[in-house]
């Protein structure tokens, strides 16, 4: 197949069953070249399964994934030449040094001794652990060990990076540093496919996101499109202990939210509700609805109804950012 000049990855009706358990039930979407694309979904939604399929670690039950023009089933080696991965649950507890770990990875990928050493240093510096180059991996902190995997991916010259929950265990500073690094890689033309449970991360980092729910793409688009697709514009937080008298009007969703009650909906309704809360002398905070609000709405039904997550939902609703086959 001729590689597309604009599409880095194209998934078509990807199904995956583990025995009787169906993890993916017809996932279709495209990732454009040079974008940061985030896969979102609840625990067990199938994000890792999809990444494992797209990176040649796992065979799909059916469907195709094309990476830079190469079919990942029939031409996995060509795909592997173009990618690098940060796995979700790899453990770097070797006694070799941080530098040696990254250098070994690069040498396995075909880099010369000198080149792999230079790149390994660059990678370690890029994730902020250059000063630990000589330290044994098993003496690094958990977060820094995780950064080693990021250093491997970043220091390879793979044009497409797959990062499965890359910022788990990273402190706030490191997280922001990494965002900056990833944005820099994007500017240099690299395509980044990542998964995350941090919605703020997906929102600030991604050009587009796809929400996987019940084994299909429930929504796809820019974070703004996803939010708009749910009809959410504004949110109002009120202390749970004080919010008893406050009812959600039609079209406004009410979420229990730690010690808060959160109301999310269109500007007009939420503003009206806020006025009522103020008249009741309740302390409130109002803000723009965010991706997390949209995500909870998009993936909340199952939890609320206790429905078994067997992947029966169809990709309905082609409105702004909702459903569809994820193309365009």
């Amino acid at each position: 197949m001729k590689p597309s000049t604009t599409i880095a990855l194209s998934a078509q009706s990807v199904f995956k069953s583990y025995g009787g358990n169906e993890a993916l039930h017809g996932v279709s979407f495209d990732v454009r070249k040079g974008e940061i694309f985030s896969l979102l979904g609840k625990n067990g939604a199938g994000k890792t399964t999809f990444i494992r399929i797209a990176t040649g670690q796992l065979l799909p039950t059916s469907g195709t994934v094309i990476v830079s023009g190469h079919d990942v089933v029939s031409n996995a080696d060509s795909v592997r030449e173009l990618i690098s991965l940060v796995p979700q649950d790899a453990r770097v507890i070797k006694s070799s040094s941080a530098l040696e770990f990254v250098q070994l990875y690069l040498a396995l990928c075909g880099h010369s001794l000198a080149d792999s050493r230079r790149r390994a240093f660059e990678g370690l510096n890029a994730v902020g652990i250059g000063s630990f180059a000589g330290v044994a991996c098993n003496r690094l902190s958990g977060g820094n060990r995780h950064k080693l995997l990021l250093a491997c991916a970043i220091s390879s010259n793979a044009p497409i990076l797959f990062l499965d929950e890359p910022t788990v265990g990273l402190d706030a500073q490191s997280r922001r540093e990494l965002w900056k690094t990833l944005a820099g890689l994007r500017r240099k033309g690299r395509t980044i496919v990542l998964t995350t449970h941090y919605m703020d991360e997906a929102e600030v980092l991604s050009d587009r996101v796809a929400v996987i729910h019940n084994g299909v793409v429930a929504a796809i688009g820019s974070p703004q499109q996803i939010i708009a697709g749910t009809g959410f514009e504004l949110r109002l937080d009120v202390d749970a202990s004080a919010a008893a008298g406050l009812r959600a009007p039609k079209g406004v969703e009410r979420f229990e939210f730690g010690q808060k009650i959160r109301f999310v909906g269109a500007v007009r309704e939420v503003e009206a509700l806020a006025k009522r809360a103020v008249s009741m002398h309740l302390p409130i905070s109002v803000a723009r609805a965010n991706l997390e609000d949209a995500f909870v709405k998009l993936t909340g039904e199952t939890a609320a109804t206790g429905e078994k997550p067997t992947g029966t939902a169809s990709e309905k609703g082609a409105g702004d950012g909702r459903g569809g086959n994820g193309r365009g």
Binding site: T55, L58, L85, A90, A107, L108
Partner: protein, 247 residues
Amino acid sequence: MDAADRLKRITRVAWLDATSIAKTNPLFLLGPFLIPLSLLLVMFLYTGDRNLAFLLAGAVVFQAINAGTIVFSDFSAQKIYFKLQDLYCASPARPSVYAYSKGLSRFLTNVPAALAYLALALYYSHAPLYVVPVIIVLLVFLLVVLTSLSFFASTLVSGETDVFMIGNIFTFTAFLLSPVYYPITALPAFAQPYAFLFPATGPALLTQWAFGLLAPAAWMVQLALLSMACYAVVAYAALRAARWREN
């Protein structure tokens, strides 16, 4: 990627890995000395210096067996416990480079012990120096075969208990059931041909022959070569059949 490029990658990675192991765990280099030494000691106490040359030749062959079987736990741990096979699988790294570089790396850390036992074996067997390249070829062959089998088996295991079970089978058949430390003629006549079912028997027999420790019957040499040819095919098939990607 052509064969030369592949070989270059394998040696490069093996060198990196082995030097890193030697630097961080120098005690590691002692293992390959000590394991045959303990066997040597027991046999020496039991049979005197009668079998010393056989034991030393066995200690040389052991270095390849040890490296080729220990990688099974390396591969399994990388796959099951560290989950690093995923990292390498989703990269330009090729399974052959991954597998043989680890095998070679383990062998490199056995080289000091191999050289020491080789020198002793040469001394006690009075074998000429020109047998050394022959023995190196036999060791590398055995290393490649066992590494391929270890890699193949490691891609099939899914839990820690499998690792111990299969690991023991490997060590047992390659190391204890094969006449490595003793002449094949020490086995009952009917069992001798069956010994060639095990991968280490052929190379071990030829090594003992090269040291001039025994003069094998023609059928033994033929069976040794046949068994090695078969194992070469099996090794290739095992590498191809290894499940680099899961189902």
